[in-house]
């Protein structure tokens, strides 16, 4: 360009080049973002029941029917005055687990987890699935779900919990089939699902201080108290820190004045039953001796306690049919092994206080692990998906965890049997015994600090020698384990065996 105007001053050309480079980088960043949402993360977004396309399609799709283990209808579909389908539920007792599906408020529970199946969006045949995706109007009627729930037991659990807030989980330890997943207070899913229902009802539920919308068995986190001793026993025996015969000479004197751990006294509440003779695993479990378990926790060590708790499901989500909260042994903020702040926290955690928090489902699985000889089956509610043309896709039983063997399970099973059937055990867990059936279990009275009544807990299984049912009962602020949770467990297991006998 000779003769043209002079070029820009020195330096600008290079800066312009770099600015262009920055613009290219900016576009690459945007392209990466778009690729993430449109390709990488797209399947999970488009598969969600919240996706606008699915919400629109679901308005016209007839959702499948949900049934209990005996074929009783739990949720079905009917049509409103405009011919648009909506959901009807058989009982308020199942709302915690079945949830709801509503045009206005979305979905929860099994209705949400299995939304794709219930609306026929997930076709088992991949070719059909692609065709369905390309043309949503092709979508079939929804699939039906067969569950392992027992409506009568579910109803009984809710009525036994009564006006208390609480949770019951009952499952078959051999298969992982859940018979009862109950949460109180319940709510009326019909009012939520009915297009003509009271629009203020859902808002009221959301702000209700008793949190009726919280599925307590899976998302409620509670201090477990003494029922956690079963986990400590598993850790002690599993890590070979103790044997079933291990005793501690400092235990009997500590019953009176408390156990001195690094200057802090770990006290026990019920030393009246203990004798001058040191207790071993079985007797200590029968009288629920805090000192024995504090010493076992210290002997096992923080790292091993956390590791063995994780082996039965603590510290991570449970692969259940509903979302689960993560149970914990400690906050993990401390610097000692396992994340405990100090040995005092470890000693208190060993009998289920300190920072231990667990969901009722997690504690039911602890009982199931002992009952099933150390093998935990994956817990599930939905046992089969049945398509409208009658194709049944079974969801078979599968092993989830295999943390220990009969060498650990047997002594704990004996100890838990003694805790229900034994001379002193009966004083704690009076109501849990199933008449005529050898019953094993452990009650818990979880101190929650402040002036609140403790949480009342029971976990157990029966028959103790060849268990077919495992249970966890929690009553929020229900007082001692003996007074509230144990009798509920006893009545529910009795009802289970009465049904099985028929």
């Amino acid at each position: 360009m000779t003769g043209g105007p002079p070029r820009a001053d020195r330096g600008l050309g290079k800066s312009v080049g770099r600015t262009m480079l920055a613009a290219v980088v900016a576009v690459v960043i945007l392209a990466a973002g778009a690729t993430w949402w449109q390709v990488v993360d797209a399947p999970s977004l488009t598969g969600s029941p919240d996706d606008a396309a699915n919400v629109a399609a679901a308005r016209s799709v007839v959702r499948g029917t949900i049934r209990d283990r005996a074929g009783r209808v739990l949720a079905s579909t009917t049509r409103d005055a405009n011919g648009e389908p909506y959901r009807v539920y058989a009982s308020t007792a199942t709302t915690g687990v079945i949830g709801y599906a509503s045009r206005r408020y979305g979905s929860a529970g099994i209705e949400r987890t299995f939304d794709a199946e219930l609306t026929g969006r997930r076709d088992p045949d991949p070719v059909q699935a692609i065709l369905d995706h390309l043309d949503p109007s092709r979508r079939r009627t929804g699939d039906d779900l067969r569950t392992s729930l027992s409506l009568p037991l579910q109803r009984l659990a809710v009525s036994l919990l009564g006006n208390d807030r609480g949770a019951v989980v009952m499952l078959d330890p051999r298969t992982g089939e859940v018979l009862v997943d109950a949460s109180t207070p319940t709510y009326d899913a019909n009012t939520i699902a009915d297009p003509a229902g009271d629009p203020a009802y859902f808002a009221k539920l959301r702000t209700d201080p008793t949190s009726p919308l919280l599925p307590r068995p899976t998302l409620g986190l509670y201090v477990p108290g003494s029922i956690f001793k079963i986990v400590t026993a598993i850790a002690g025996l599993g890590s070979e820190a103790i044997t079933p015969q291990t005793t501690y000479s400092q235990q009997p004197p500590a019953e009176k004045n408390g156990l001195l751990v690094d200057g802090y006294r770990v006290k026990d509440g019920h030393h009246d039953f203990t004798q001058p003779k040191p207790l071993a695993l079985s007797e200590a479990t029968e009288v629920s001796c805090n000192i024995f378990y504090a010493l076992t926790g210290l002997a096992t060590g923080g790292a091993e306690l956390v590791r063995w708790a994780a082996s039965v499901g603590f510290g991570g989500p449970i692969p259940y049919d509903l979302p689960t909260e993560t149970s914990q042994v400690t906050n993990g903020t401390g610097s000692t092994p396992g994340g405990f702040t100090d040995r005092v926290e470890l000693a208190n955690a060993a009998y289920g206080q300190a920072e231990v928090l667990a969901t009722p489902l997690q504690m039911a699985l602890v009982a199931a692990a002992v009952a099933n000889g150390g093998t935990i089956m994956r817990p599930r509610v939905v046992t089969a998906v049945v398509s409208p043309d009658g194709n049944v896709a079974e969801r078979p039983a599968e092993v989830w965890l295999k943390p220990f063997g009969p060498d650990v399970a047997s002594p704990i099973r004996d100890a838990m049997t003694r805790a229900v059937e034994g001379r002193y055990g009966r004083l704690f867990t009076s109501g849990a015994k199933v008449p005529g059936v050898l019953t094993a279990g452990k009650s818990g009275t979880a101190e929650i600090g402040g002036s609140g009544e403790p949480h009342s807990w029971f976990i157990g299984f029966a028959p103790a020698d060849h268990p077919t049912i495992a249970i966890a009962v929690l009553v929020e602020n229900g007082g001692s384990g003996a007074s509230r949770a144990s009798p509920i467990a006893g009545k529910l297991m009795s009802a289970y065996f009465a049904q099985a006998a028929q």
Binding site: V16, T19, A26, A34, Q38, T46, D50, A52
Partner: protein
């Protein structure tokens, strides 16, 4: 290099027509693309091969060609890629507006009520008129170069006017209403800011490059020379922040940093500026609850998918439904109970709607078009005759590029969402007209026949002439 050639009288010769072949070819491609788009939309809507909104698209394409013909007749040697590129972006926006429910925006002019697409077409045609006029008429940049403080004053005055007389909309006072028209003057301030900064930085560039202020061992920019500029940037950013127009504030700051870098070539100053900007952002976070809310929504919109996170969650779902190639124009966005799933889709989320219907391919194409606008602008800057013109061209290109980035990144949840428009695509008069001014000025600056810059003035002893005096 003689001055005689540069200042040769042009007289009647400046109206010698020239063919603009490249522009013509590119516009033909734009026409075909928009036609296919309209046909695709018509097929989807009616099931028959019709062109949806055919009249509106035809008027738009005619307007594009009118600008082309006017430039050819005027014989300007301006950039030939800019008009087709922004024409394509505007056309895509028009297609989207044709596709959306027309009652989303309506306005009465006398007895006629205009819907969304008709209004957008009116703004687009006005914008094209501005582009054509500026591209043809502006033959000198002296009016921008010489009165930078006047421009700065006008800009700030406009903002203050909005502050005093503006109308509150969505919790921010951004809109000025005059008769039947309403506009957002902060849009115009972007351009004014670029003109001011280009003028100021060009004048003080030699000083900024050599002088330093030392505080102990730390070399910082020569503060006395920076102060007027910092004051201008501070005032404009401050006012829009008070008006809660955080997108505009972010945009102003990005423009400032890029121009500072271009003028000085110092990456360290940009780093310093980014650090200060980060500190300011943190202060804003604690000062304004709206900022905290925006950041919370950005971090986890899925925490409240039916409440505060609704808009962005629905947008992300729309992107996801689009996948690689989209569901097709007109096939996306299922209306639920008569409502669109994404609120403010026509102003804040056109990219999500296009992402759903045109897929990742469409989104990448749109991003590429914006990159072309920036690249052409920077090319014009690199070829410019002097620093002011270079900074002005680069700054104008950055106005479009940075705005597209800020809103696109917000739509894609890469940064917190700020309610600014996607240039040339979003619905909105102010934005379209101001971005048209930007493109019109870029066209004028790109002309090889534009009046050469005046020789640098001598300024005391500090500022020596950069070139040999020309005779």
């Amino acid at each position: 290099m003689t001055a005689a050639a540069a200042v040769a009288p042009r007289g009647i010769a400046r109206f010698r027509p020239r063919t603009r072949r490249r522009e013509l070819i590119l516009l033909a491609i734009v026409t075909i693309t928009l036609g296919v788009g309209g046909l695709s939309l018509g097929m989807q809507r009616t099931g028959r091969p019709t062109v949806e909104g055919g009249t509106l698209l035809a008027i738009y394409v005619l307007a594009l060609f009118a600008v082309h013909v006017a430039q050819s007749v005027a014989g300007r040697r301006t950039d030939q890629a800019l008009l087709p590129t922004v024409g394509m972006l505007g056309g895509i926006g028009l297609l989207l507006m044709i596709r959306l429910p027309q009652d989303l925006v309506t306005q009465r002019f006398g007895g006629i009520e205009l819907g969304l697409a008709q209004l957008q077409l009116a703004w687009l045609c006005l914008g094209l008129a501005i582009i054509g006029t500026l591209g043809i008429v502006v033959r000198s940049d002296a009016w921008l170069r010489l009165y930078k403080y006047t421009w700065a004053a006008i800009g700030v005055a406009l903002l203050l006017l909005v502050f005093a007389l503006g109308v509150d909309e969505n919790g921010s006072r951004l809109t000025l209403v005059v008769g039947p028209f309403s506009g957002q003057p902060s849009e115009l301030l972007k351009v004014v800011l670029v003109i001011f900064l280009a003028g100021y930085l060009a004048e003080y560039r030699p000083l900024l490059a050599t002088e330093r202020t030392s505080i102990g061992p730390l070399h910082v920019p020569p503060l006395p020379y920076l102060l007027p500029m910092l004051a201008m940037v501070g005032v404009s950013t401050g006012i829009v922040i008070i008006q809660k127009d955080l997108g505009a504030a972010l945009l102003f700051y990005v423009i400032f940093l890029v121009l500072l870098y271009l003028a000085t070539g110092r990456a360290s100053w940009v780093a310093l500026g980014l650090a200060l900007g980060t500190i300011a952002s943190i202060c804003l976070y604690f000062l304004f609850p709206t900022v905290q809310e925006r950041v919370a929504i950005w971090l986890d919109p899925f925490a409240d998918p039916l409440g505060s996170g609704f808009q962005i969650v629905q947008a992300l779902h729309a992107f996801a439904r689009g996948g690689l190639f989209g569901v097709g124009l007109g096939a996306g966005l299922p209306e639920i109970a008569g409502r669109l799933p994404i609120p403010a889709v026509h102003t804040d989320f056109p990219l999500a709607a296009l992402g759903e219907e045109l897929g990742l391919a469409g989104v990448l194409a749109i991003l590429a078009l914006f990159l072309v606008v920036v690249a052409r602008g920077l090319r014009i800057a690199a070829a410019a005759a002097d620093t002011f013109r270079a900074l002005l061209a680069a700054g104008l290109a950055i106005v479009v590029g940075a705005q597209a980035f800020v809103i696109a990144a917000g739509d894609l949840k890469l940064i917190p969402l700020t309610g600014i428009t996607l240039p040339f695509i979003s619905y909105g008069g102010s934005s379209l007209l101001v971005n048209s001014v930007v493109v019109g000025l870029l066209l004028a600056l790109s002309d090889r026949g534009i009046e050469p810059p005046p020789p640098p003035r001598t300024r005391g002893a500090i500022m020596r002439p950069l070139r040999r005096s020309r005779g």
